[in-house]
């Protein structure tokens, strides 16, 4: 049996999650722009930055895939990751997939004009596709909470 308190807690946590996810994706993107410019085909990334990027990207992917809140109880998690959130997740992942495909094709096309490594291409594709997927998820979640 679901109590009203559980529903209210799930509601608050769901809103908070949408804001935190968007902020995390924004921070991730901003850090990449500031510390690791790839425009011009070369990066000035140190090993620590590269590893930091990979860990951050994996954490964001894990957050999107699980919906976060792994420490919450099963009932609360089920309410937070409800049918609407699962649908929003599918839409966000779909958008992320098409962004990744478009970037991959774009990078394949410009390879003749500028040189970059496979690692740099993966960096651009992963950074933008995961960030955009999370932004879309956050937007859809916040829209779902908005009253008509």
């Amino acid at each position: 049996m679901t109590s009203k308190t559980t529903v209210e807690i799930a509601d608050r946590m769901s809103r908070k999650r949408a804001v935190i996810f968007a902020a995390a994706a924004g921070a991730f993107l901003l850090i990449q722009v500031i510390t690791r410019p790839v425009i011009g085909g070369s990066t000035r990334a140190s090993s620590a930055q590269t590893e930091g990027w990979a860990i951050n990207a994996l954490v964001l992917m894990l957050c999107l895939a699980t919906g976060g809140g792994l420490v919450n109880g099963a009932r609360l998690r089920a309410l937070i990751n409800d049918e609407v959130s699962r649908s929003n997740y599918k839409t966000a992942v779909g958008v992320g997939y098409w962004v990744a495909m478009a970037l991959a094709i774009g990078l394949y096309g410009v390879q003749g004009y500028t040189n970059y490594t496979g690692r740099q291409a993966a960096y651009v594709i992963v950074t933008l596709s995961i960030s955009i997927a999370i932004f879309v998820f956050s937007y859809l979640e916040l829209r779902a909470h908005r009253d008509a």
């Binding site: 049996m1 679901t2 109590s3 009203k4 529903v7 209210e8 799930a10 509601d11 769901s14 309410l79 937070i80 409800d82 049918e83 609407v84 959130s85 649908s87 979640e141 829209r143 779902a144 909470h145 908005r146 009253d147 008509a148």
Partner: protein, 70 residues
């Protein structure tokens, strides 16, 4: 394939003097689910439609209609 589904969720909820949170508690779903279904943003699954109808003491057919059915 219909992209919209008319619903009487708000009217039925008002008839029973329930808030979105009350209905969410009765149906065992989140308030977000009630809000999106009520506003036509989200088309519920059969299971969810049945749960909502049961919580409101009505039928799925009464609660949801295809647009052409008025």
């Amino acid at each position: 394939m219909h992209e919209r589904l008319n619903n009487r969720l708000r009217e039925e909820r008002a008839r029973l003097d329930l808030t979105q949170a009350d209905l969410a508690t009765l149906a065992g779903v989140s308030r977000k689910t009630i809000n999106t279904v009520e506003n036509g943003v989200f088309i519920p699954s059969t299971v969810l439609a049945l749960r909502l109808a049961r919580a409101l003491g009505t039928t799925v057919e009464h609660l949801f209609q295809l647009p052409s059915e008025g």
